[in-house]
Assembly symmetry: C2
Homo-oligomer: 463 residues x 2
Amino acid sequence: MSPALTGPPRPGGDSRKRVRPAPRACHDEAVNAPSAVTTPATTRRGSNLPRVGDYNQVVVLEAIRRNVEGLSRVEVAALTGLSPQTVSNICRRLLETGLVEEAGKRGVGPGKPRTLLRLAPRGRFAVGVHLDPALMTFVVLDLVGRPVARSVRPLRPGLGPEQVLGEVAQEVAALVAASGVDPDRIVGLGVAAPGPVDATTGTLMRPPNLPGWDRVAVRDVLADATGLSVLLDKDVVAAVVAELWAGAVGGPGSAVFFYIGTGVGAGLVLHGEVHRGTSGNAGEMGHLITGPDGPPCSCGQRGCIGEVCSPRTVVETARRRGIAGLDAPDRTGPGSPAREDADHRDVVGDALGRLCAVAAQGDPDALELLEDMAVRFAKAAADVVNLLDIDQVVFGGPLWEHLAPVFLRVVPELVRSSAVATPIHPITVRGTSVGADVAAVGAACLVLDQAFSPRSATLLVTH
Amino acid sequence: MSPALTGPPRPGGDSRKRVRPAPRACHDEAVNAPSAVTTPATTRRGSNLPRVGDYNQVVVLEAIRRNVEGLSRVEVAALTGLSPQTVSNICRRLLETGLVEEAGKRGVGPGKPRTLLRLAPRGRFAVGVHLDPALMTFVVLDLVGRPVARSVRPLRPGLGPEQVLGEVAQEVAALVAASGVDPDRIVGLGVAAPGPVDATTGTLMRPPNLPGWDRVAVRDVLADATGLSVLLDKDVVAAVVAELWAGAVGGPGSAVFFYIGTGVGAGLVLHGEVHRGTSGNAGEMGHLITGPDGPPCSCGQRGCIGEVCSPRTVVETARRRGIAGLDAPDRTGPGSPAREDADHRDVVGDALGRLCAVAAQGDPDALELLEDMAVRFAKAAADVVNLLDIDQVVFGGPLWEHLAPVFLRVVPELVRSSAVATPIHPITVRGTSVGADVAAVGAACLVLDQAFSPRSATLLVTH
């Protein structure tokens, strides 16, 4: 294994390695600005005009991004509080760099119609990959967050990290080529992986779900292999960012997004900002105890949600109880390519999907199992809601579509009746519309977010 | 009961009622600025110079506050990045309004010695009160957060909210008079109360620990009765603010402060900012399950930390197991004033203190009980640490001094071995030095904090 793959994390390193100096002024400014998430809350400095200028450019871009129908320069000035001259200068730069485009004219009152500006969807792109233990998912998103290309590849258990990351780099190049996107317009590559990660150094520590990946410098290896700027984040952090972009969570309050896939985890948006925690590993909730019974967990307790509500445990319990219809018909012969693909699909997830179908057809045992799962998630959700005073609970992830009917019948009432803040503010419980690719999409959104979103900390130099 | 006591919460109200227009420019500016905590994260506006001016004044004040030895104007300029002329103007205003004072001169190099500026401790004061169900605590803090006066009064169970708040107003006036502080220099009154609270409207909802207090408009009632600006916050939020001021938590990372008193709760500091949640009720952790056994909780589960680790439960268990030495010698006759005072002291807390003393003398049953309590707190702490990726765990509150020896022997290793981020960053577990008055002190700190701390959101107008 090469030193680059196994090097120790470098404290204080930038969270993003820039390998290829990009010639885009706006992008450079945004990347060089400190992010709100990693800025230490030490003594803050006053603001100086050059920085305000950079910040205002991102603020203008954000105002335009939020108004998909298009905004006139006058409207941008009104929304941002900036002077018409400042807005005019910034918009000229944004047009020149291809981030913004003209979107027709709108007449208001007796004056001449005003030219509308909107985000140029094909002005920039970002690539996202989700290193799920079963399946790697790749997406290319345009600047407004729409997928323009997608692929999946099995993460073959026999391969070491170096080989897997080599395959990732190959697949990224192949997907970009197939998408027809100008490679020069790709802002970067976001990688979502199971934790623990060291987001500061872009290192994957020793994730229980990826055996053999011990202190792998994913960011640096992929930056060298792809020539792209790379960031690494934990899968649930990436997933909740996708939810934020899709509008499933957000607003002034606080939200928890429960990801249900191969594992279960929580993504947190607190007061409108993604909460990463000290090292980017927030969202571990597997050992929240949901009740006295359940199979023994590795921690020595019973009833830990990560154990008792894992798709694997639920499917095993269903099999043990003799619930029929969980296994897929075997349509492939041994050794055939189709069989190999099937081996690397999410077999457990598929079985859980069939369990949900059996329950929907009225099987009382299947229904009881799923209701128990929902009650336990409601308990964990209530714990998180009470600890953080959260007003939005969202469920999602690749298995959500199957679980939604039972969960949405059971969970909302239980959460509301357990939340101490119920008399003060509404608590919404709902499912997301972002599908199985949520973590890969989120990884790409993180790249766009880091490059183009305003953060108040860009005004504040820390030292 | 007057309408003012029972009025419904007013959505969107300012979190602080200003009853007496204060003639202090700096204070007014700070109070009128939106706080980072309550600012919705909607479209942000660019910064304009007049606002930057207000903000810079608070930034200068903060720089001076953080350097208790004193700072020269040149050093302020270097630290804040502001121009010497701006710093000079701001410092003149701060001196005129009495917030800052000169603190001698310091010679550096061949030039003339530079005048040092420091916070004027007696430039402003704040009053804090903790409405603990057993005992009300009152403090007056100076501008640097030092208590200059303190008193306690029983919260007599027979009285209604209106009478209790009348007593609070009387005691505030009496304490301020006794302290010798100029009433015109009192910035405001902070109230810490058991949740749920509606911090936006300053209303105490229906706290389980204060029966009969249903939608009591504490802020408005006390503002009318005292003539002071009043803010209401949840007790654990106030407590963690006191810890933040005392330097027990803070820095760039995230911290949880476990408050152990009549109840147990968690105060959260995430990325250097106090986390209040959607309505100021973050920190409820009473139903985190710590294991399969324990007395039944009102929620239907067993092992909830708020039930199994409450001082009342621990003391009851100790009595049931025949552990001797828990009861105080009765030195007072029935009906005597001393007896009445004793009735309103924290009887359960005192018994827990004696249990800890018995354990320290080597009683194995007492020790086992306390170790079980510590193991359960370690489990809850690990859950919170993993959910939020926290790097600092601090225990405190009025009962902490008794529990410290056992907890500090048991908890740190258990938390570290359960935290997924342990390979990435250190996780410190320690006790606080802020004593039994932590919530009252924190309530007063909140007043100072709201008036005088820089918040990046003051730069950002929202709409």
